[in-house]
């Protein structure tokens, strides 16, 4: 065992949205592919990340909506109760399982050999797999794609205990809704899950070390969210530091003035960042270099310093997003097949599934100015968008950033209903090099939320017209 080496064109390590997409694409291009994964197909995203989080969010959403629809004439006589075991079962079987078996079928259809086990390099052209079923297997490969993803930081100031102090993976798997839930870290993962559990019935406190939730996000957007969090009864502590773990059902939090608060908690989610994961991979044996933060540097075709070894997804850069991983996976597969593909997109949209949702793409006003543009910003509030009113969801706005001289659409920042979907139009516009006028003159159906984009583009045009463009 372990001495018989199987040869393959491409070995892909890790079956997350980076790895499985790369494997599928490589097989489509006629390559012989081996995909190695030690857990479930689908990686973090399908099993413990994007997908399960959105499933819980959407259930919480529906509950919250119906409990707040009296003004619209929907009256709950009695109550709407959460059978959380049922919710979790649905999430596991009707959401995750369906998607992961979809991935399995794709792999089968593409004749990708799926190996369940943990891979480690033995030299630049071979690796060994510690099989989940026992034993090892060895592979030689012409090309490798490293797609081992990332893992949650386990901070020494608030160590996970795997039971009541958990990372997002743990929080997504709660068997019961925690009556009191503390979230340490106000990034998107913590805020999304905090809101979900708040809607499902938890008393939620979010502790964020900096002065703003969702650090790095346009404060105009976050302000709208903050108002909603207040209405949801979520406590937000800014400039505050939790430490010391959960002691006697309490979390110690030091606020900006140095005062220490004790917050009661049944469960604590620690979400203070994610780091690239290459543990036990023996990258050194393959000669693959990592940077000081542990990321694997790559070129536009996703090649590492070892030209026949590629890296994609969370493991190769701090923009840790599933669709970026998938797009990079396609580029790597195509590059291996000799195609002139490159990861040269202009923009990667960002979406946060809060309530209301937040989405942005391209440049903010400040970023545009830094790049030497002469940015003009227009805004349009959802309170004036007919469709938003008919949905009873009128908080939020669309901000569009355009360049005065060229009229180019440079970016959008949005907060409001369904902006997760609206951002698609802007991402395409930016990739196409659209001018604001292109958006303003494209008919948008009435009544839709995307009229918010149309109106912002129109008002941008009209403000330029008033000011005089040339």
């Amino acid at each position: 065992m372990g001495s018989i080496k199987t040869g393959t064109d491409v070995v892909v390590i890790g079956a997350g949205p980076g790895g499985y997409v790369a494997a599928q694409r490589a097989s489509q291009l006629g390559l012989d592919v081996t995909l190695i994964e030690r857990e479930e197909l689908g990686g973090t995203c399908l099993n413990h990340g994007c997908i399960p989080s959105k499933a819980l969010i959407s259930v919480g959403d529906l509950l919250y909506k119906v409990n707040n629809a009296a003004e619209r004439g929907l009256v709950v006589k009695g109550s709407v109760e959460v059978d959380f075991a049922k919710t979790q079962e649905w999430k596991e079987t009707k959401v995750i399982k369906r998607l992961t078996s979809g991935v399995a079928s794709l792999m089968k259809a593409g004749q990708v050999e799926v190996v369940k086990g943990t891979a480690r390099f033995t030299d630049p052209h071979s690796l060994e797999v510690e099989l989940n079923d026992g034993g090892t297997a060895a592979y030689t490969f012409k090309h490798a794609i490293i797609a081992t993803g990332s893992t949650a930081v386990n901070p020494s100031f608030f160590p996970l205990d795997g039971e009541n102090v958990v990372d997002a993976r743990g929080a997504l798997a709660f068997r019961e809704i925690p009556p009191r839930f503390v979230v340490v870290g106000g990034g998107y993962i913590g805020v999304e899950l905090g809101i979900a559990y708040a809607k499902l019935g938890s008393k939620v406190t979010i502790v964020e070390a900096t002065g703003q939730l969702l650090p790095g996000t346009d404060p105009d957007l976050v302000n709208v969210l903050m108002r909603r969090l207040r209405r949801l009864g979520v406590t937000v502590m800014l400039n505050a530091r939790a430490s010391g773990g959960l002691q006697n059902g309490k979390v110690k939090v030091q606020d900006g003035e140095g005062k220490v608060h004790e917050i009661e908690a049944d469960k604590v989610l620690v979400s203070v960042g994610r780091v690239p994961y290459t543990e036990g991979l023996h990258l050194d044996k393959a000669g693959v270099r990592v940077d000081e933060k542990g990321f694997i540097p790559v070129d536009e075709q996703m090649r590492t310093n070892v030209p026949h070894i590629y890296a994609i997804g969370d493991v190769c850069s701090p923009v840790m997003l599933a669709h970026k991983a998938s797009a990079q996976g396609r580029v790597a597969a195509e590059a291996i097949a000799g195609r002139p593909s490159a990861a040269d997109w202009q923009t990667v949209p960002a979406v946060i599934f809060t309530d209301p949702e937040i989405a942005y793409v391209g440049l903010t006003e400040a970023q545009a100015r830094e790049k030497g543009y002469d940015p003009v910003v227009s805004r349009y509030n959802f309170a004036a968008v007919g469709r938003a009113l008919t949905m009873g969801e009128s908080d939020g706005m669309v901000k569009l950033v355009g360049d005065r001289q060229s009229g180019l659409l440079l970016g959008a920042q949005m907060v409001g209903p369904e902006v997760s979907e609206l951002i698609g139009e802007i991402a395409l516009a930016i990739e196409m090099g659209a001018q604001m006028e292109d958006v303003a003159l494209t008919p948008h159906y009435h009544p839709t939320l995307s009229e918010g984009i149309l109106e912002a583009a129109l008002s941008w045009m009209h403000s330029i017209e008033k000011a005089g463009r040339k």
Partner: protein, 62 residues
């Protein structure tokens, strides 16, 4: 949804061109950032890329 927005290619002097045009340039071995754009706002069109490639490979008149 963390620090996105600043895509990998948010670099200075990036030619304005659609994804399909960029791919065409790579297919033809053309550095798109060298191609003068004739489209709106200086956008490099696929015709610009083809013309550039043709000029480059055109045999010198005998």
């Amino acid at each position: 949804a963390p620090a996105a927005g600043a895509g990998p290619a948010d670099r200075p002097r990036r030619a304005l061109a659609t994804p399909a045009t960029r791919r065409l340039a790579r297919e033809l071995g053309v550095d798109i950032n060298q191609v003068p754009g004739t489209g709106p706002a200086g956008r490099v069109t696929s015709d610009d890329v083809r013309a550039f490639a043709a000029r480059r490979t055109a045999p010198a008149p005998a």
